[in-house]
């Protein structure tokens, strides 16, 4: 029920935006994320963007997970 999926904002008009979700464009509301800009990825829940996704944080998390995986492989080898 609390499902929210990443969507890429393509254009903004007032408090609404056209956003691409898995190749499909749909209209979403920006009432809860007035700071969202074109080119941002947002988390969309029931048609509303509930947060702007943080690309830097995502990259940092993946970097950490890559280090963990490298260390695990080394340990096995």
């Amino acid at each position: 029920m609390c499902l929210a999926i990443p969507a890429l904002i393509k254009s903004i008009e007032d408090k609404e935006a056209e956003a691409e979700i898995g190749g499909i464009t749909r209209r979403i509301s920006l009432w809860l994320t007035p700071e969202a800009e074109v080119g941002d990825y947002v988390l969309v829940h029931t048609g509303y963007a509930i947060n702007v996704l943080d690309q830097e944080e995502a990259e940092e998390t993946l970097k950490l997970l890559e280090e963990i995986a490298a260390a695990a492989e080394e340990g096995e080898g």
Binding site: R27, W31, D54, E57, A69, A72
Partner: protein
């Protein structure tokens, strides 16, 4: 970066699983509060790849599952008023209330429409000015701000035939109720990611501080959940209990201030009735006085009658984490996703549905 496939990479999952096995020594029971996490854990077989000293239990984080029959009966009663159009998220349709479901009353002629968003419900209200549209406000802190926004939009657009049945629930108070009951001993909490996207990580701090239970906010991809488990294990093995965020791309410690502001403008906390847990103080949301004209319960005179619980159903015990679906005599026999007896079999996030669809045969 598309924020999905990157967090499903199997080679990174292997690394996390290996680290969890290497680090974890202490027997521990973790609760995933959120039904979305239950779905991820079952879909990707995460229980099966964890060390045997880690036990996972599902919590009450499925809004449909925890809605009491007395409240579901109100929705049914509203649907039976001739000039009312019910607008609801689709997973509500099959949920059995005391005497029938929305699907059944729809088949009998009630106007029940499935919407993806409150924006669709507002559109239905605009297109049907002589009828009244009642949106079923079921959901946690993730959903409540979207419904608050719809009420403010209705006010702004002078849409006078839009109402909300406010059955929203708040997560931290119910976790506290579960911990205070002492029925289930927990050593770690997987905190809900999208609830926390709104409320932030601070509201979980009392659990780490007052109950000494490590808390980690998790996202919903398999790597998110594995990373979360790894962080819980690290806290346990280091003798710590604090709140951490494993889902940093989607959750900030302070949450979404605009969403919290709109939610606080329209709603105020009230006691709420949870299936299996009874009344929990300050765990619900009602419309503030200024917005009471949108309150469906005040706008329509309904008498839902006495509520009944389905005989033999143990959804309440499952939602508290004290029993599992396999303890239920109805599971998979009298109660299936096709013909559900209890709500945990209806919602795709309910633990009975997850057990039924993905099985696993591994408890703990």
């Amino acid at each position: 970066m598309k924020f999905i496939d990157e967090f499903r990479r199997s080679e990174l999952a292997k690394g996390l699983i290996s680290q969890i096995h290497r680090r974890s020594r202490t027997p521990a029971r973790f609760m995933e509060f959120c039904g979305g996490h239950t779905a991820t854990i079952f879909r990707y077989g995460i229980r099966q790849v964890l060390p045997s000293n880690i036990e996972m239990v599902s919590g009450p984080g499925c809004p449909i599952c925890v809605t009491a029959n007395a409240d579901l009966d109100k929705a049914i009663a509203l649907a039976q008023i001739p000039e009312v159009i019910i607008a609801t998220f689709g997973d509500m349709l099959k949920v059995p209330a005391s005497h029938s479901s929305l699907q059944e009353v729809k088949a009998d002629g009630a106007d029940v429409r499935i919407v993806y968003s409150t924006m669709d419900a507002l559109k239905i209200a605009e297109e049907n000015p002589t009828e009244s549209v009642v949106f079923l406000g079921i959901g946690f802190e993730t959903t409540a701000p979207t419904i608050a926004a719809s009420i403010l939009q209705a006010e702004e657009g002078r849409i006078r035939n839009y109402y909300v049945l406010s059955l929203h629930k708040l997560c931290p108070p119910v976790i506290q109720a579960i911990l205070d009951s002492g029925e289930v001993k927990l050593h770690g909490l997987i905190c809900p990611g999208h609830v926390s996207a709104i409320i932030g990580s601070h509201p979980w701090e009392f659990i780490a501080r007052d109950y000494g239970i490590p808390c980690v906010v998790s996202g919903f991809e398999p790597l998110d959940v594995l990373q979360c488990v790894d962080m819980l294990v690290a806290q346990i093995e280091n003798g710590e209990s604090k709140v951490e965020i494993a889902y940093r791309r989607g959750v900030r410690p302070e949450g979404n201030r605009e969403a919290l502001r709109l939610m606080g403008r329209v709603f105020e906390p009230c006691p709420a009735w949870w299936r299996g847990m009874g009344e929990v103080p300050d765990s619900g949301l009602k419309l503030r006085k200024e917005y009471q004209r949108f309150d469906a319960e005040l706008a329509f005179d309904i008498d839902p009658g006495t509520a009944y619980e389905p005989k033999g159903c143990i959804c309440g015990d499952i939602l508290r984490g004290v029993k599992t679906p396999l303890d239920c005599r109805l599971f998979g026999r009298a109660c299936t996703p096709e013909y559900p007896v209890g709500p945990c079999m209806v919602s795709s996030e309910g633990s009975c549905s997850a057990h039924y669809l993905y099985g696993g045969g591994f408890e703990g």
